[in-house]
Amino acid sequence: MIELDNVAYSYGNGPALLSDVSLKLAPGSFHFLTGPSGAGKTTLLKLCYKDLQPTLGHVRFFGVDGPELSRDAVASLRLKIGVVHQDCQFLDHLSVAENIALPLTVSGRPISASDLDDLLGWVGLSDQAMQYPQELSGGERQRAALARAVMTAPDIILADEPTGNVDWDMSLRLLSLLVELNKMGKTVLIATHDLSLIRASKSQVSTRVLRITGGRLTLAGADL
């Protein structure tokens, strides 16, 4: 559904951060993306939700080449791709619950209170639903960001370090939420540096682990 075809990317006039990257996120697949800090994981994800345009190569979204999408088509695309941003940004004047429901609000879709409650319970934010984002702890923000990403029941979920600030038990809980969604047919891509999380997932779902090193995307072996 998202295809990267010989993609290269460089910021400004700098050297190529990514080059020759080809990747196909097939429906229902479950990927991990790993690599050292600064390797380009976040950059690759941004290419996948059209926040960045590739310097070379093509990114196709549901069969359509990126540059051919109108601005409104990009907006619709973002509703089909749920993203957990590494720097989870919220609207500070709306409550946590309202922020999580925001993708539904802006697309004019009805908000089911029970769905919202379930989701808040799963990510452990039932008590914080009426707080404001700036009153959340670091881990709570990440969980709220994950909840917002899956709120629209998107076809594809891209999560950038969704467990960077949460403890191990909560990490496993969030992982199982994503596994659950994957079993319902959603495509999942998780960027993380937490190898134990990848190991923990092995028993639950069949995953492909990608690694960025030296600007190239490679398939990680069984050495994890």
Partner: protein, 298 residues
């Protein structure tokens, strides 16, 4: 401006919550709109007042002329009659009358003192002419007088009037200039306030765009919010301006109309147009600023 932009104002109030409700950008917009509406009402009043003064001066000065007949005593009655019949057939004259001896004596008093024996003097006859409509053609009248009443002289006061008419025109220019200046300042400040507001909310717009909001949805919400705020501020400011003008120390006397700023008649309606104009300005400025911020986002 497309009609859809105005229609958007009436619909989808629910979406407005996505715009931060308070904060200094809202205060900025409110206050800018209010203070500039206040100044605009003042400038409007100034402009109307100067225009009124100018019109009154020109009118008052242009509308009366004098015909002086210094004929020998025996021809006087005949020439007066001739002038009267000419005036009767001249278009653009509303009335005319021969001044009585008493009136002439009053006019001469400052120079000759009271109680002069006016009958004993060889004073000329004076006919006061009041114009109607666009007035009469002074040159034509002069020629006809020359032909039929050789001793009659038309004094249309041009000599006295010219500088005052010029001054009135200058006053009118000054009023329009103030209005123009305040108008430009309003436009610029509102634009700047909108830009400031949108820039301050850049992160909000980014988040909205990232979660899948359409450009029109985002721009619409901001336009509604800031247009409403600007309209509210401008209404308060305009009202304050009208009140302030009403409360101005009453310098109103028949002679000092020059310094009277208050509105008159239909003039009272004009401040009503200030808030809508400010609101439309705010609408356009916000739309422009929103489009610029959005263009920078993928």
């Amino acid at each position: 401006m497309k009609l859809s932009n105005l229609l958007v104002l009436a619909t989808d109030r629910q979406a407005d919550r996505i715009v931060p409700p308070t904060g200094y950008t809202v205060r900025l917009t409110l206050f800018t709109a209010a203070s500039l509406a206040f100044l605009a009402v003042f400038a409007l009043a100034l402009s109307l007042a100067t225009s009124r003064v100018a019109t009154q001066w020109s009118d008052a000065l242009a509308r009366s002329s004098t015909i002086r007949i210094s004929a020998p005593q025996d021809q006087m009655a005949a020439q007066v009659a001739a002038v009267e019949s000419i005036l009767q057939t001249t278009p653009g004259i509303s009335e005319f009358r021969v001044l009585s001896n008493e009136e002439q004596a009053a006019l001469l008093e400052p120079w000759l003192g009271a109680g002069i024996p006016i009958d004993a003097l060889p004073v000329p006859a004076l006919i006061e002419v009041i114009e109607a409509g666009d007035g009469f053609a002074a040159e034509g009248l002069r020629l006809r007088l020359e032909a039929e009443a050789p001793d009659a002289v038309l004094d249309d006061h041009t000599r006295w009037r010219q500088p005052l008419v010029e001054a009135a025109g200058g006053l009118r220019l000054l009023g329009l200039l103030s209005l123009l200046l305040i108008g430009c300042a309003t436009a610029a400040m509102i634009t700047l306030a909108a830009q400031a507001a949108l820039a301050a909310n850049k992160q909000v717009i980014e988040v909205l765009r990232l979660v899948g909001a359409r450009d029109s949805y985002i721009a619409g919400a901001f336009m509604r919010r800031f247009t409403n705020r600007a309209a509210l501020g401008a209404t308060v400011g305009a009202a304050a301006g009208v009140i302030a003008i009403t409360l101005l120390p009453g310098t109103r006397t028949s002679e000092s109309f020059l310094t009277d700023l208050s509105f008159e008649g239909l003039g009272w309606i004009t401040p009503i147009f200030v808030p809508p104009v400010v609101a439309v300005l705010a609408l356009l400025a916000t739309r422009h600023a929103a489009a610029r911020v959005l263009k920078g986002l993928p």
